[in-house]
Amino acid sequence: MAKDPRVTNIEDLPGPKSKGEMEEWKMPYEEYCKKIFDVGNEHAKPRPLKGIKWLSCTMYIFTPHSVANLAELGAECIKIEMPRMGDAMRHTSPFNECYLYPLHDTRPMTGTGLGFTNANPNKYFITMDYHIPEMVEIFYGLVKKFDGLTELYRPGTLDKWKMSYRYLSEINPRFIYVWGGGFGYGPKIFGGSYDILGQAHAGLASISGMHEFMGGHCTKQTNWVIDWQSSNLITASILAAIHHRRKTNLGTMIEFSQVQVPTRMLGHTTTMYGKFGIVRQRWGNWDTQLAVHGIILCGKSDFPDAENPQDKFDARYAMVSAFQDADFKELCAITGMKELYEKYKAHKDRVEGEAQVEIYSALERWAADKSRSEVCKILNNAGLLAEPVRNDREVYESPHYRERGTVRWLDDPLFGDMLLHAGYSSGLMEKSPRRINWHWRPVGADNKKVYNEMLGIPLSKIQEWYDKAYI
């Protein structure tokens, strides 16, 4: 122990006594990550957005998902739906088959479709008809108590109903207001939007899919990627607005046009047009900057005896990457394309369109008598990057996703056993992770909690509103 109490010697402290010892004591990085992120135990840790309260007058995916992000991070979010009906997305189920029941007490034969999944976890669900002046007053009461609101009505609709930011900021100057919708103000203010329209309008669909000379067409993503991506960006804006409010004590309005978002996902496309006047082509499963770096079709399925056509016929694609000169040389050696290596030794030569057509065609000819996994195995053994294009079932069975908790089962408090595949896919947080408490709840499931417990409205009044279909 040092004589002077102000002096601290490293020997006197607990823990490693030297830098070398410290390094020695450190657990392997993987073990360290497993310990601090502690997947599966998220609910034992604090919620990062605890204390934030958010209203959601939203439908479909785009705007609900922007609030779902907040709810997963621990904000208290209330979704306001149409009485008896609920969000239209509840009635949108893939192929009209996958429903969970019940939807609402008055509609025992109707369920909520799985299309509602992922955009509404952890929210509380109330119903309210804004057209009733009495209910608008109740809505104002909620605004006074909440931090913000996300809505998606046609531009100016809530303004018309005296429920827009101009009005609400007078009631609550700290209120953060988000309008999210198709086009926003501008020449197409009347235009509504769907994800596919966003992909088309912003030029994203025009550069997705294979070129027409390869038999391809402009393509939209099967899923509604623009809805999901736009809402993530709304959430980023909301978090920035909350931070801004901490500094200024003032709320703000966020106006979010969905068709803007795909333009952000176009990379260099528009800038290239501005500089050279070049309109970008689509190049589908290959890459415009790197070659070889794309997806090829193999001749045989990995699961020829499977019943499911996705397994039986479609498990034939593999991602192959060998764009470095040495890797390309190895690829050519292993696939017997030596003359192609001689021809396209330099990357600048093989990245050209004509060269790519020649190279990928040769690769597919080589893979024509092989299955997807054989192709990947041969290339991996040669030290090259190759990965099968997986389907949903393979993702479900992937040990990587299971270990990281990306895909997991949730015993939903109301609906039972449900598979989760998105709630835990947004990165891991050590101290305050995201978590899923429930997938969703029936229409109006929290009417009593919100109207009675939060706003102090008598139960008899709530029942009266319910009987009149105000809620």
Binding site: Y101, G111, S193, L414, M418, W438, N447, K448, Y451, I462
Partner: protein, 161 residues
């Protein structure tokens, strides 16, 4: 997206100024005549892929093929015609389109053999104003499924993954 016809027809010395909303489901690829919900002026339009290729052009004296779904007047306090106003807007019965009227598949158990609420009818909440508690008491609410589940458990058909 939803396009509009903004009717500027002079009626009684001032413009009609009614916005007639063209529901995208009906008008995405469409050619024909549509009336203004307020003044009844008939317009011809030709839309291709949601783009107003021709029109709106007035067609006085002709009958409309279809009515707008909704219309409002922004300069008149947003007074409006909601769906289903006779002779002005189209009826909207809130019914699913015919091709969506299939029979939903029912499930009682997930692929790993645990109960999931995928069948109907389900018992009501018994809560105030449609409110639900946070617990699905399957043993009490659906005893027959609970029994089936116990048999599955005993037979080792319930898995972790």
């Amino acid at each position: 997206m939803c396009d509009i016809i903004w009717c500027k027809k002079e009626v009684g010395g001032k413009p009609c100024d009614t916005i007639n909303y063209l529901d995208p489901y009906c008008f995405w690829n469409w050619e024909g005549k549509i009336n203004c919900a307020e003044c009844g002026t008939v317009y011809y339009i030709h839309m291709i892929q949601g783009f107003m290729y021709i029109g709106p052009e007035e067609r006085p004296g002709e009958e409309p093929d279809i009515m707008p779904l909704y219309a409002d007047k922004p300069f008149d306090g947003y007074s409006n015609y909601r769906p289903g106003v006779e002779g002005r807007t189209r009826p909207y019965e809130c019914k699913p389109r015919a091709q969506l009227k299939g029979v939903a598949d029912m499930v009682k158990f997930s692929i790993r053999g645990r109960p999931v609420r995928g069948w109907r009818p389900q018992p009501p909440s018994a809560g105030l104003a449609g409110s639900f508690a946070f617990n699905w008491d399957i043993q009490k609410l659906s005893p027959e499924v609970w029994e089936e589940y116990q048999k599955k458990l005993a037979a080792g058909e319930v898995k972790d993954w």
